[in-house]
């Protein structure tokens, strides 16, 4: 499966998500953590979704996660050259992200729930670098 990165809908950051996209631009997957209750959370917001504290800080994720669930879409999409998996990835830090899976066959036999994954960053434009995931140990 190949992705035509010129056809991927490009995210538009808001003031609350700017740090995330600034992070991927420099090779970091940034999450947020509550200083009061230690919850690590995603997607970005300037307060803790567990205790509502505004005392939060930005933390860098390890980039390691595992495959929580997925579907394999069979219908054509301009950014993909064939059937492709839309995946949910559980990060080590306890948050979940949607993504696609690179450097692996897009089949039920290849995509095994709970398989270890690692983040890989792909530029969509000069300003936006999008996180994807691939099997851990891949060299992309």
């Amino acid at each position: 499966m190949r992705i035509d990165f010129t056809q991927v809908p490009v995210p538009v950051p808001t003031p609350e998500t700017e740090h995330f996209w600034a992070g991927t631009l420099v090779g970091e997957l940034r999450l947020q953590q509550c200083i009061d209750c230690q919850t690590t959370y995603f997607p970005p917001r300037p307060f803790c979704p567990t205790c509502a504290s505004r005392a939060i800080e930005i933390v860098c994720a390890s980039g390691r996660g595992s495959l929580a669930s997925y579907v394999i879409n069979q219908r054509p999409h301009p950014a993909f050259d064939g059937p492709y998996a839309i995946a949910l990835v559980e990060l080590e830090e306890g948050v979940r992200m949607m993504s696609n899976l690179l450097n692996i066959e897009q089949t039920p036999d290849a995509l095994i729930l709970d398989m270890p994954l690692q983040v890989t960053l792909q530029p969509l434009s000069d300003d936006i670098v999008l996180p994807y995931f691939e099997p851990r140990g891949s060299r992309s």
Binding site: P11, W21, V71, H77, I86, L88
Partner: protein, 381 residues
């Protein structure tokens, strides 16, 4: 909420269902509303409260010539109409209005006069979900299911039996879109849409509408049909982002909404004669049966596969054929409510014997919201 203090006295769908290219979306609202008024023996001037989703209540009220005392435009997806029922009960009980009209109309197939629904690129979905190739509900609503199957031990064949069971009900319903019986093998070998969902495990895409009329119970006997009393209701929301469900194998909104409705109605599951669980996709009845407490964890798949929800089974479910076989315009909740009303009235195409309690459970968005309505006959009021 007081139990049984408000009743549904008018209920109808659009004259036609399926492919209706000669009607705009707002006219589908009006066609259903006029049919519901005729069903209740009421005129338009009797309506003083309007609730709707998909169109604005202002637009629907004006189109129908109503100047309301009360409006509700709660729009949380396909279960919005369950929430409208709940809010209408509160409004009528507290005297804000006397007679509420709830309308739904959707040109889901023909797209005549229907607005768009795309997330902005700056919304959280636009930033953190849309780049990954989701193409609407078939690829997003379906995302949690492999986790559900793994955690609960439910099989793909058991999930396929949802579509098989509902097709059996649809076969008894002349208005159903798909009536030909199917087998589990046929469901599993049907065209793949988004693995593991084949075409027959995804909802239909059709046009249609429906409307309900509610009044206080003390005058509900004065109408042409058997009143259908509202015994209990519930509502909740979880997240607009499927990736952020707290647990991919259970819906928080289902649990909160369902438990609230049961506690208001003061009944236990054994009292339920008939059940509707909004089925945009085949996994939803599995989540619904478990999250509403009809089945234990991991038991819903076998429960359906063993035939318990079929005609003659001990818990008849989705008796109009459901979103998989009856119709699905996009916001299916109204059709589930209509079928519960017909079952309690005793007028359904595939009528279940003596329905005194019907539970009607809806989902909004993609596990984003939920609404539950428990209806009863005069025997259970």
């Amino acid at each position: 909420m007081s139990r049984g203090e408000v009743a549904i006295v008018g209920a109808a769908e659009t004259t036609e269902l399926g492919r209706i290219p000669h009607m705009s979306q707002i006219q589908l609202h009006a066609d259903a509303a006029l049919n519901a008024l005729a069903d209740a023996g009421l005129g338009i001037s009797d309506i003083d409260g309007v609730a709707t989703a998909g169109e604005s209540p202002t637009g629907v009220a004006h189109y129908l010539g109503i100047t309301p005392n009360w409006v509700d435009g709660t729009a949380v997806g396909g279960c919005s109409f369950m929430l409208h029922v709940r809010h209408a009960v509160a409004a009528i009980e507290s005297g804000l209005c006397r007679c509420v009209l709830i309308t739904h109309g959707e040109s889901g197939r023909s797209n005549v006069g229907r607005g768009g629904r795309v997330s902005a690129a700056s919304s959280l979905q636009g930033q953190f979900e849309s780049p990954y190739g989701g193409m609407g509900p078939t690829t997003i609503f379906t995302l949690p299911v492999l986790r559900f199957l793994k955690e609960t031990g439910t099989t793909l064949a058991e999930m396929a039996s949802v579509a098989v069971s509902q097709r059996q009900w649809a076969g008894k319903n002349p208005r159903a879109t798909l009536k030909t019986p199917i087998t589990v093998d046929e469901v599993l070998n049907d065209r793949m849409i988004a693995y593991p969902f084949t075409r027959s495990q995804c909802c239909l895409v059709t046009d249609g509408g429906g409307a309900l009329i509610l009044v206080a119970a003390d005058r509900a006997e004065d109408f042409p049909h058997k009143p259908v009393y509202i015994l209990g209701t519930g509502e909740s929301t979880e997240t607009p982002m499927i990736s952020q469900m707290a647990d991919l194998t259970t819906s928080k909104a289902f649990k909160v909404s369902g438990a609230r409705a049961f506690s208001e109605a003061g009944i236990d599951h054994g009292a339920v004669d008939h059940l509707m669980i909004y089925d945009a996709f085949a996994h939803l009845p599995l989540y619904g049966l478990e999250d509403l407490g009809f089945c234990g964890r991991g038991e819903a798949g076998a429960f359906i596969a063993e035939g318990n929800t079929l005609p003659g089974g001990r818990l008849p479910m989705n008796t109009n054929g459901g979103g998989l076989s009856y119709m699905h315009s996009g916001m299916y909740g109204m059709y589930a409510l209509q079928e519960s009303v017909r079952q309690v009235r005793g007028t359904a195409a595939a009528q279940v014997d003596a329905v005194d309690v019907s539970v009607c459970h809806g989902v909004g968005g993609m596990f984003a919201a939920s609404g539950t309505v428990i209806m009863g006959s005069s025997a259970t009021r």
